[in-house]
């Protein structure tokens, strides 16, 4: 795939992500921003695929980019991270393997169906772990602050300090 093909895929990913952002009721000013995140994620994945990297690893890389980019945007625009991350991974959803799974199972071809199911599952797992890895990288120091000594209990003394640590 040349640069033109990559940009074309990026354009379609931008349109798709923006459309889903409308469905998820993202604030109007953030529509194009989340579309940009989706386009970057898919373009990175395709570039990695083009470089001969396995599709699961490439999808992981794309989701990692979406996560890093999305968390940066969330801090910059003061929006929940969900707005950029969940929309950004939309173009990488393995629609065709999932669809093949259904068709093969209905046809009675269990082997081919299982093969597609495993591929779809691995790709979804790669997306999820890409996002989680990005979150772990970016919140490395925050998880062990005294602001939140124990989950479920929140004390007044810690509230202000916690607010300063959490700037998104």
């Amino acid at each position: 795939m040349n640069i033109g093909g990559l940009l074309e895929q990026g354009f379609w990913a931008f349109v798709a992500t923006t459309g889903f952002a409308v469905l998820f009721n993202v604030p109007t000013r953030m529509l194009a921003v989340s579309g940009f995140t989706g386009a970057m994620g898919l373009m990175w994945r395709n570039a990695l695929l083009e470089a001969g990297i396995h599709s699961v690893a490439a999808t992981f890389g794309g989701a990692l980019i979406v996560g890093l980019l999305g968390y940066t945007q969330a801090r910059f625009f003061h929006q929940p991270r969900l707005v950029f991350t969940v929309n950004g991974i939309v173009p990488m959803i393995p629609g065709v393997p999932a669809f093949q799974t259904m068709v093969y199972f209905v046809r009675g071809d269990i082997n081919a169906g299982l093969e597609s199911a495993v591929v779809a599952f691995l790709l979804i797992g790669a997306i999820a772990f890409g996002l989680v890895t990005a979150r772990m990288l970016l919140t490395l120091g925050e998880t062990l602050t005294p602001a939140n000594p124990r989950r479920g209990t929140w004390l007044r003394e810690h509230a202000r300090r916690d607010l300063n640590a959490d700037s998104s």
Binding site: Q9, W12, A13, V15, A16, T17, T18, G19, F20, A21, V22, L23, F24, N25, V26, P27, T28, L42, H78, Q79, P80, L82, V83, T85, V86, I89, V90, P91, I93, G95, V96, A98, F99, Q100, T101, M102, V103, Y104, V106, I127, A128, F129, L131, V132, R135, M136, R151, G152, T153, W154, L155, R156, E157, A159, R160, R161, D162, L163, N164, D166
Partner: protein, 277 residues
Amino acid sequence: MTAASASPDSPVDTAEPVQRLSREELSDLVEIMLQVGEAMLESGAAALRTEQTMAQIGLGLGADRVEVYVTPTGIIATAVSGNEQRTRVGAAGPLGVDMAKIGDLNQLSRHIALLGGSLPAARRQLAAIHARPRRQPAWVTIPAVGVACASFAQILGGEWIEFAAAGVGAATAQAVRLMLGRLRVNAFALTVVCSFVAALIAAILCQLLDAPRPQHALAASVLLMVPGVPLITSVLDFSSNDLVSGVARGALAFLLSLSIGIGVVMALWLSGLQVLP
């Protein structure tokens, strides 16, 4: 950043006069916290995010200590002030997605945490957030989803025929979803019906236009029903150690995906379309 957060290391509470909330006020406070938490869950927020928002609001409104346990369908919340404490249990659901509302509630919690607030004012602001109309009106989602799913047909490797088939199918399915949503149809039944409609229309259009790769159009047309938010939130919940939320959301996402499969299979069977070699 406001002036209040300019000196992170200064002791905060020593300068403030100690104000105890009465039993009734504490009851009001927990009620507000529960309303916020339920709205967050119903808008698709993760458990940790919901808990943080509720705690910031509870502490900002004057509680000394707040204890929260969040699951996708219910919340247990306790607020403590002096010797008084109140515990309430709230139920949430059905789960949907509304990112603008999550943003609004986060902003409210930040304001209350930084500036404090009175209980009536918080209640009023919460009511204002609930009364706010959708930023993207419902009818706009019909063409938007159509174009988005059509773009997927292009991403997956289809041509303009698949683009058109997927777009028309998805837009019709979104219209059906809005209609059934107004009737409060069960989420699984709704998913089966909408995926059936989307796939059937895409399949019929592919047959009429003699599309070379109908599987791309069919796969793209049902993507609007994919439970992306529960799927991702489930993994995020696992990563922040909320196992109950993670398992529950994962199971929900799995069953919704299965419902899509049922709808597509029925459409394939009815249309008799031959896909995949």
